[in-house]
Assembly symmetry: C2
Homo-oligomer: 397 residues x 2
């Protein structure tokens, strides 16, 4: 029995073992990337499930088209046009098994072994998993308070020879309330990134799961809405605005690309869960989504505020953190002498968990950093957890 | 924008365009591989959905473990032990987004470009899609009334040099009520295939979606239940005994392989739909599954009988067909002068559809054959459809 070469490059998501620890009883975990279970509209999902099964049961339980339920694709296209000014039609939308599957399918159709994907440092670990599954290599770009350092990317591209540059298959970007950094890509940088994409004809994979979770300030235009070249592949998810357990995401892209992605999806899982698609379609069409999201926003905004206040109160001088305008995460930089991976076991003893920064960094950096999730603990736990963590850090200094 | 090499080898499932035609109004379609919508326990699914959301809503809507909901994996393991005498525990079970995903994940962890997969001729088209997505090449083996010609496989393996043989990554087999042939692999052949697998250390991917749809005769032991080497990877699905729209399948394999498959799944779609897992778990645990399957069997058995009678009555001399003991399909061989792909448009004009045989054959054979599905039309339609098709064939002779 001999496995494929790619298996050697696959990794267990490094954070899984930390996750396991972090769900022990009594633990205050800032580790996961979980929405609050209180954010799930359970009653509404129950009502919609009954409605769907009563009215369209035989369709909702049957095999569905690989591209997604037609009516649902239309609903999403309409919402993308209306909410985000992304010009698209049904044929530009593919429904997927979570947006994680978009990362898989995009890599599947773009990446040959040793091709390059541009990733931010730090970046979403699940994306690295998808990219590595196809033996991608990485071209890394740093981040600052405006998001990806697009200048750095540009100079790296300029210095490369053409042949190597052609092996860059796409630029992976999380523009809003970045996971793990919490940063939002500035308007200027969005435009600059689009220019680079156009100049070098490198597609952008715009991963935008948190866009509806903005707590202050104005929503910036998505890169997809400014894309005139068909070079932006936009993906988002129902995981943060309805339920992650339903595993529903979507991708908006050029029609020809959608055909290729659908072709790849066919052999991958035939189609996305049809029952869930019907439920989510109703969730949007009945207007429930727009009634529900403000409630989630309100809950998470408060939690973020409490976390920021607690950081101020309990973390010692020399620590810095981002102050995200939305999303679920913030990013803490500790004094250089602290190694967050090494400190983890001590944190666990004090019943508080986080993810160490290096897990998100493909270039070996991030050792004195950590990601904190603020969506999945209530306000009291956030205060108490940050206090425990702050005390531990003080002890280490 | 440059796509990966594998995209050139991907194919739209050849039958998709035929499927599209086959759902036109008034069409009697034997083309699809759909269960009857009357086989879905809609009321029960409604009840279970409500129960799950009421009792375990926050769990069922949250992110789940990549391997599957623990309780559900246990339930499946227990059922595999009890029903099929497959010795396995929770850690040998991975829950997947349909069994199609098993085909994808197994190929993902085994196949490098130009590696070989052993496939029957004909075989399931969706499997060919999964294999081609990873640039598999095929080693083909013919079939007769006892299923895969294992002797033929053995002599092909014997004639190969060691180096080439080592590029064979697995043997793909659909032992019960084969799609598309309807044939069941005989006991002797099962044993022989296991011997070959052991001798050459080539795993068997045992794809067994129809095992519970047996209409006559005794269930033969699965190869997995006879596997002493951990070389059999067994997969099955809820698509035929509950609902395909819920996209639920599973794989039973050696624990180390399950770990590798889970690792691959993580970057593929994070986890299977959690809500559906809870529903299906209840479906088994409450005993509903064992009350419901006999109803499906009864419905399909009658439909198959009507199709066999109608073939006798309306098809001219010189036509042959398989007489499956279960499943959803049978396979018709027409006189050599008829090309079923060319005849398709005429069939459509007469409002009857099928899938031409060549679509299932990677070696270019099957041109005078066709697959007929008998699960998705009622008895009157089956009679009428077979009559239309018989008349057309008579006209062509």
């Amino acid at each position: 029995m001999k496995l494929a070469k790619r298996v050697k490059e696959m990794r267990e998501s490094e954070i899984r073992k930390f996750m396991e620890v972090s769900i022990r009883p009594g633990m205050i975990s800032f580790a996961g990337g979980l929405p609050s279970p209180h954010s799930f509209p359970i009653k509404e999902i129950e009502r919609l499930s009954i409605k769907v099964l009563k009215n369209e049961g035989t369709m909702a339980l049957q095999y569905g088209a690989t591209e997604g339920v037609r009516e649902f694709r239309r609903t999403i296209a309409k919402r993308m046009n209306k909410k985000l000014k992304i010009k698209c039609k049904e044929e530009n939308v593919l429904i997927t098994t979570g947006s994680q599957q978009v990362l898989d399918l995009v890599t599947k159709i773009f990446v040959d072994p040793r091709d390059l994907v541009v990733v931010e440092v730090p970046t979403y670990i699940g994306a690295l998993c998808s990219f590595r599954n196809y033996q991608s290599k990485f071209l890394t770009v740093g981040m600052d308070s405006e998001g990806m350092k697009v200048d750095e990317l540009e100079s790296k591209l300029r210095e490369m020879n053409k042949k190597k540059r052609e092996r860059i298959k796409f630029i992976y970007s999380i523009p809003n309330f970045h996971n793990p950094k919490g940063i939002t890509l500035s308007m200027e940088r969005r435009k600059h990134l689009l220019e680079i994409s156009k100049k070098y004809q490198i597609p952008i994979l715009e991963d935008d799961p948190y866009i509806e979770l903005r707590y202050r300030g104005k929503t910036l235009p998505t890169m997809k809405s400014m894309d005139k070249e068909g070079l932006v592949i936009y993906t988002s998810t129902f995981s943060k605005i309805l339920s992650p357990g339903l595993r529903l995401g979507w991708v908006v892209a050029d029609g020809e690309l959608i055909k290729k992605l659908s072709m790849a999806k066919q052999g991958t899982d035939l189609s996305t869960n049809v029952f869930s698609q019907y439920i989510a379609n109703e969730y949007i069409k009945t207007g429930l989504v727009d009634k529900h999201i403000p409630k989630i926003r309100k809950m998470y905004k408060k939690r973020e505020e409490v976390m920021l206040e607690s950081l101020e109160e309990y973390f010692p001088d020399g620590c810095e953190w981002t102050k995200p305008d939305g999303g679920m995460f913030l990013w803490v930089t500790l004094p250089k002498k602290i190694n967050t991976k090494k400190m983890f076991n001590e944190a666990i003893k004090r019943k508080v968990a986080y993810i160490h920064g290096a897990a998100f960094c493909v270039d070996g950096s991030g050792y004195n950093e950590m990601r904190l999730n603020f969506s999945n603990q209530d306000e009291n736990n956030i205060r108490e957890g940050i206090k425990r963590l702050g005390n531990l850090i003080k002890k280490k200094l």
